[in-house]
């Protein structure tokens, strides 16, 4: 092939592998790709350079590309697309892929690979990408022949977005990208056997509705699956919750699936969830789990989890059912589809919940609510972190479109507790994997998808430094992302656990040598702001909101504030710590110590 190198010929429908890839992406509706070039993907970048339908966003590290694609995907409901090179490009992407796997975010990640004849030779920038990413992707492909490429790309999108969404990797050797082959349009693709069950079993739905209608102390416990199912699922959920008059709680991943301002909403549940949500979970007699997975952050100690309830579980992934908690009525199917059938069944069966029992249940819930578990006292000059989030919420809640991303730690929990989400797809956080450094690149992705919206990364001073290089991406594309740092000079959650479990010995959790965030912002062409006193906070927030450039707001908050309420490791829902004064009364068991 040295001399007689074939050229792509559009008349005969043949093109290079790179052109096939671009065409396939374009036919899949892709308009934005997050990536970073390198030797093995040069032909792809060359092909991309010669077209206009797909815009490439150059990040500053491949890990940032994946999180940006996650932010893009989560805020649009579409598949996020990543393009990175072989070897280190692929390995840098692994954290983001694992993050997307844990949180069920649809991604297609194209990784370059050394040419096929060098695979297995320890070539320069070679790694076993499909081997490394096998456990952290929903599926992956190594394309060895250009004839397979179009089919693989279309199938990858189908796998990424259908069923329980997740990341898919396409490993593309450089020689395949340069070889000449034929294109295949997406409508000609059919997968042999991958067909997730979308419609719920009718008899199970009937049984579930009968169980719900007879409940005396019911609760809806809903998660990220509602959001993944699409905006319609949130509408249907709200309708069903309203029709039934039952209380509803959401997981961290589910925030926005049900309006936070609704009186039937009990707040988030779980380790840092509200007292009323967790107590209602513990005491309920019928639990309707919709698109959530009984994660250990939700259940607390399994042996004491909601001991007296019948459980209904709606999930598109059969492997989520009966994984941690045995349920009574499993329904495998897409949330929107199943909820629609449930509402029909509820109406058809003329379900009449026991109003007297329900009234008593709400009375009980109101008593728990009266504990006011999220209360804090803002007095004096020092800014309480909760107050900072609350003021941010007050200042932005009436704006049209606000997208919030977070990093991981105390600030993330405070954001979840104090920022109210009325709509799905406006809250992006790393739930399952808990990836510090997620929020800034995710904000890049959300801002790229919604150029005119307000995008805020609520961050901690430790997390933000994990992907701070993406400030350069923000500068390049003039993205007006706002970074709202709750700066307590500690890895706050680590410090809190050290206090709780390790005698307050703060091993390596103090953040030494922090940058001057205002100067840091300026060096990236952004605006740096700072608030030291409670009285300065509102003014700083207003200043941030009216700045049309990127902003880093350094909010100096109370250094030793801990995040409450909290279900300590190894404890049950009804064994919450409501504040520091509770810690002494409820020492953590040795079993709890080993948990994370």
């Amino acid at each position: 092939m040295a001399n007689g190198k074939k050229k792509a010929n559009n008349n005969t429908g043949t093109m290079s592998g790179s052109e096939i890839l671009i065409k396939a992406l374009s036919d899949q509706g892709v308009t934005r790709i997050f990536g970073y070039p390198g030797g093995a993907v040069l032909p792809l970048y060359d092909a991309m350079h010669q077209q206009n339908s797909i815009k490439h966003i150059l990040v500053r590290q491949e890990g940032g590309a994946v999180h940006a694609a996650e932010g893009y995907a989560r805020s649009t409901g579409e598949v996020g697309v990543v393009l990175v090179t072989s070897g280190p490009g692929a390995t840098n992407a692994v954290t983001g892929l694992t993050d997307a796997m844990m949180d069920s975010i649809p991604l297609v990640c194209i990784t370059g690979q050394v040419p096929t004849h060098l695979i297995g030779n320890d070539a320069f920038q070679e790694c076993d990408t499909t081997g490394i990413t096998r456990p952290c992707t929903k599926h992956n492909y190594l394309v060895k022949k250009v004839e397979d490429l179009a089919h693989v790309v279309h199938e990858a999108f189908h796998v990424a977005r259908s069923g329980r969404p997740g990341p898919v990797v396409i490993d593309l050797p450089k020689d395949v990208a340069m070889a000449i082959g034929a294109y295949l349009a997406p409508d000609k693709i059919e997968h042999k056997n991958y067909a997730p069950q979308v419609k719920g079993d009718a008899s199970a739905i009937k049984e579930a509705v009968a169980l719900m209608a007879g409940a005396k102390k019911p609760i809806f416990y809903c998660g990220g699956g509602v959001i993944n199912s699409g905006p319609k699922a949130s509408k249907l959920l709200t309708e069903l919750v309203h029709t039934s008059g039952y209380p509803c709680t959401l997981t961290l991943m589910g925030l926005g699936a049900y309006p936070a301002s609704d009186p039937q909403f009990l707040g988030m549940l779980g380790m840092h969830g509200t007292y009323e949500a967790n107590l209602a979970m513990h005491d309920c007699d019928v639990m309707v789990c919709v698109g959530a997975r009984f994660d250990d952050r939700i259940t607390g100690v399994l042996s004491k989890f909601s001991p007296n309830s019948k459980k209904i579980h709606i999930d598109i992934d059969p492997s989520s059912i009966n994984k941690n908690v045995k349920v009574d009525v499993p329904i495998v199917g897409d949330v929107a589809n199943v909820l629609e059938d449930m509402i029909k069944q509820w109406k058809a069966s003329n379900a009449k919940p026991d109003q007297k029992a329900l009234k008593a249940w709400w009375k009980q819930i109101d008593e728990w609510r009266a504990k006011d578990c999220l209360k804090y006292v803002q007095s004096g000059d020092i800014i309480k972190p909760q107050y900072a989030i609350q003021r941010l919420y007050e200042a932005t809640k009436n704006l049209d479109e606000v997208y919030i991303t977070t990093e991981v730690g105390q600030h993330q929990m405070w954001a979840a507790q104090f920022y109210g989400f009325e709509k799905p797809n406006h809250w992006m956080t790393s739930g399952g994997l808990g990836t510090m450094g997620y929020g800034l690149p995710a904000a890049v992705g959300a801002q790229v998808a919604h150029p005119d919206a307000l995008v805020i990364d609520i961050a901690g001073e430790a997390s933000i430094l994990m992907n701070i290089q993406e400030m350069s991406t923000i500068a390049q594309y003039r993205l007006p992302v706002k970074v709202f740092i709750l700066n307590n000079e500690y890895m706050g959650m680590v410090r809190q656990w050290q206090e709780l479990l390790h005698g307050g010995r703060y091993a390596e959790s103090y953040m030494e040598s922090l940058p001057d965030f205002e100067m840091l912002a300026e060096s990236f062409g952004a605006v740096g702001l700072r608030a030291d006193k409670a009285g300065d906070l509102d003014g700083m927030i207003q200043e941030m909101l009216k700045t049309d450039k990127a902003v880093i707001a350094d909010v100096r908050v109370e250094k030793l504030e801990s995040c409450y309420p909290m279900i300590p490791s190894g404890a049950a829902h009804n064994d919450m710590l409501l504040g520091p004064e509770d810690e002494a009364n409820k020492p953590i068991s040795e079993d709890g110590m080993v948990l994370v």
Binding site: G131, R134, H139, N322
Partner: protein, 171 residues
């Protein structure tokens, strides 16, 4: 909450997969990654025209774990079907072993006699060794190997279990 049943049982699971690169790694990676047991695993292409292989896995776990294993296998993209032969009705299981026994004199004769009782065949013979081929269920093979131990057992190679449901139905 219903108490988790703690009794562990052994199940034989048949999995029909696309015979594509990495599919066995996916299955094995799932077991090691999630801490499930593999007592035995066999794989071979069974439907050449459709490029499908059949994997037979013998695994041990509580009912909840076995259910998880099947659900996790079922969601792998190249997996066509997952059948729990142990639960789904009567099935037959067979395993093949090659057993090498070295020795002379009375022990050599005794090994041949036992092989005869077990319907094992002699595949190879030298003046001081035999290689027996024996087919049967896992228990029979274990018994044969145990009997050969004092008679000069030097090497064993086993295929692992293959299994198929009784009756006229296909997987």
């Amino acid at each position: 909450m219903t108490p988790i049943e703690e009794t562990e049982n052994t199940h034989t699971i048949a999995v029909l997969v696309d015979n594509e690169p990495g599919v066995l790694a996916r299955v094995i990676g799932l077991f090691s990654g999630r801490g499930y047991n593999i007592d035995s695993l066999t794989v071979a292409e069974v439907r050449a025209r459709r490029h499908q292989s059949r994997i037979t896995i013998v695994t041990t776990g509580t009912p909840m774990i076995i259910e998880q294993i099947k659900a996790q296998l079922g969601r792998l993209v190249p997996v066509h079907s997952v059948s729990d032969l142990t639960l789904e009705g009567p099935h037959v299981e067979r395993e093949l072993a090659l057993v090498k026994v070295a020795g002379t004199g009375e022990k050599r004769v005794e090994s041949l006699r036992i092989a005869d009782i077990f319907r094992a065949r002699v595949l190879d013979s030298t003046n001081e060794s035999f290689v027996f081929e024996i087919v049967g269920d896992t228990g029979k093979l274990n018994a044969f190997v145990d009997l050969m131990r004092p008679l000069g057992l030097v090497d064993v190679s086993r295929t692992g279990v293959v299994a198929i449901a009784r009756g006229a139905e296909a997987l």
